[in-house]
């Protein structure tokens, strides 16, 4: 571990080489670095180490990961910013409460499961069951934005928050998979593509964006474009559709009393 004094305000950066390091050791080092006052932790040669950033409760900390972090990246995280220069595996942002994850690559399945707050930005494609059961609570609005395409079950059981899918550089016929928003009963999705109702859960409504939607979309999208140096105007000029839950209680006629 080496410690470098970076700038005038004495913000400290700690750099860790994770080559062949077991995750327990690595995560201990990260926690130790943060406890010692580091604001930026840079981890190099990451490959498959799980749980990086898991359970960390500090807002003023940035963890930069160079490589491919393992599963459950930032699980239960409550505040920090994580930047991944590479792809993320499955389960990133699992039950995350606050903070921000910026992934300069693709992300795997079950991204942002039960996420209650914070932001999860992925430049590339995302896997299956992304944003599954993400929920808003009190003032918290979780936001997931993926620049590429998504697998099946996007926004499954979605109960709150905002999911935005852009389909940039996409050459497949649809940027969403099947079973889109099945069980959706809260929150909203903005999809930068036409959405065939055939692909949606029965609980999902498709609509045009109103002015409120446009404001929300633009606000988050600008931040996303800043993070990845993308051209906001190019992206926003395409048509978006809004997916919303038709009912907060979709299963009224299911049970016999």
């Amino acid at each position: 571990m080496e410690t470098i004094a970076l700038s005038e305000n004495l913000k400290e950066t700690i750099r860790i080489d994770a080559k062949n390091m077991y995750y327990r050791q690595l995560n201990d080092m990260v926690r130790e670095a943060i406890a010692s006052g580091a604001k930026d932790v840079i981890i190099d040669s990451v490959n498959g180490q799980r749980y990086i950033g898991a359970g960390i409760e500090r807002k003023d900390v940035t963890i930069i990961i160079n490589g491919t972090p393992g599963n459950d990246l930032a699980a239960f995280m409550d505040g920090p910013t994580i930047i991944v220069n590479g792809n993320a595996q499955d389960g990133a942002g699992n039950t995350m409460n606050d903070g921000k994850i910026v992934i300069h690559g693709d992300a795997g399945d079950v991204l942002g499961y039960g996420m209650r707050g914070g932001k999860l930005f992925v430049k590339g494609n995302v896997g299956y069951r992304v944003g599954i059961h993400m929920k808003g609570y009190k003032n918290q609005i979780p936001v997931i934005i993926a620049g590429g395409t998504a697998g099946d079950f996007l926004g499954e059981y979605m109960a709150g928050g905002i999911l935005i899918l852009l389909g940039l550089n996409n050459n497949t016929h649809s940027i969403v998979g099947d079973y889109l928003g099945t069980g959706m009963h809260g929150g909203v999705m903005y999809i930068r593509d036409e959405v065939n109702p055939y692909r949606c859960g029965v609980e999902v409504g498709i609509a045009e964006l109103d002015d409120g939607d446009k404001n929300t979309l633009e606000r988050y999208l600008k931040e996303f474009c800043d993070d990845f140096s993308l051209d906001f105007n190019e992206i926003i000029k395409e048509r978006f559709v809004k997916l919303y839950p038709k009912s907060s209680r979709p299963y009224g006629r299911l049970y016999a009393y």
Partner: protein
């Protein structure tokens, strides 16, 4: 514990019936060079070691293709024994039914955590003695009978590999320890599979580790096949004897049935195992709809249901797939002539840091990689 120890000794079908089904979680890794260039086992060892936490030290193994070029025309039988008696009975059986070119101990190194290995032997054999009758039966069919015969009748003996110019090495331990034990780094193969196992109810039996093999089919598998009960009964109808109580055995035999016996190509066989949903079939054109519908109607009992990803290897290729709603992870990458498949991207990057392409195949879609047609192995 009880069940697997029993399994090792008993060949009594009634006791086998009583045994619980094996349940386990896992990590997978596979590599193939489509030009048939041989790669050291060291690469696959690193890749599977990276997925250490997907297993629990109770099972690991490797399948390697192209490792016995000198004996490429012989079936290589890898057999484990729990006693010299078992070995003697088996060798008598082999001598009686086959011509054995060479029988030798499988070379191993001492490794601290690998305890009480069984006797591990390999035999290079020809399909059958010339003077024996029954010429109707093809060599492969005959070998299947031999393997099933040993596994079903000789207590304490278990054939765990029976293909040509390939071999399975597996046991109880973490895969990296087993790699050391079996000296995997000293083999050169054009196709490698590795497995890291997390059994939940059946520790302690070497035969229970993956890969599972029959002839040149080797399977590594992550997940549980919830349709095991009917898959097993379906296979029994075609004469397969399922003795190992594992999901993976079912997959191996289904492939044997669909590809070797029913002559379905790999693509169609994968469709049978992980078929499209009716709602998607409804949307295909008439001809495809008819074909998919027929496959589902006829092969409904062969469909694999539940969470799974598996990779299977065979002489000319490697196939990876997962279940219809993607309940287990599966990643594929390419770099030049090499194709990689694994449970986690990190397992691929461990041995191929800058792949040309990395992707997660869609649920239920198989990825089939075959050797270039010009390659002979």
């Amino acid at each position: 514990m009880r069940s697997q120890e029993l399994l090792w000794r008993t060949k009594d079908p009634e006791i086998l019936r009583q045994l619980g089904k094996d349940i386990s979680g896992c990590g997978l890794s596979g590599i193939i060079n489509i030009r048939g260039q041989r790669i050291s086992g060291e690469a696959i060892r690193c890749s599977i070691a990276c997925q250490h936490d997907r297993g629990n030290g109770l099972g690991g193994g490797f399948a390697a293709y192209g490792i016995y070029p000198r004996y490429r025309d012989y079936y290589a039988l890898h057999i484990m024994y729990d006693s010299h008696d078992a070995k003697n009975s088996t060798e008598d059986y082999l001598d009686h039914h086959l011509s054995v070119e060479l029988g030798e101990r499988i070379p191993t190194r001492p490794v601290p955590n690998i305890n009480k290995p069984p006797l591990l032997w390999r035999y290079f054999v020809k399909g059958r003695k010339e003077e024996e009758g029954d010429f109707e039966i093809a060599d492969d069919e005959y070998m299947v009978k031999i393997v099933m015969g040993i596994n079903a009748t000789i207590p304490g003996a278990f054939v765990f590999s029976s293909g040509k110019n390939m071999g399975v090495f597996k046991g109880v331990g973490f895969p990296e320890e087993l790699a050391e034990f079996f000296m995997i780094d000293e083999y050169q193969g054009y196709l490698w599979l590795a497995h890291n196992r997390f059994p939940t109810n059946t520790p302690g039996w070497w035969g229970g580790a993956h890969p599972f093999n029959l002839l040149d089919w080797s399977i590594i598998h992550n997940g549980e096949i919830s349709s095991y009960g009917i898959n097993k009964r379906y296979l029994e109808m075609f004469g397969y004897k399922l003795t190992l109580m594992t999901d993976t055995e079912v997959v191996a035999y289904l492939l044997d049935l669909l590809v070797r016996r029913h002559k379905l190509n790999l693509n169609v066989a994968s469709t049978v195992l992980s078929p499209p949903f009716w709602k998607d079939i409804e949307k295909s054109d008439d001809k495809e709809k008819e074909a998919f519908t027929a496959l589902r109607m006829v092969y409904g009992s062969a469909m694999l249901n539940g969470p799974f990803a598996f990779i299977f290897g065979f002489t000319r290729g490697m196939v990876g797939m997962n279940d219809r709603i993607k309940l287990r992870p599966f990643v594929v990458a390419t770099k030049g002539d090499n194709f990689y498949m694994a449970s986690e991207e990190a397992a691929i990057r461990e041995i191929c840091p800058e792949p040309d392409k990395v992707w997660s195949p869609r649920a239920g879609h198989s990825v089939i990689v075959e050797l270039d047609r010009s390659v002979t192995v």
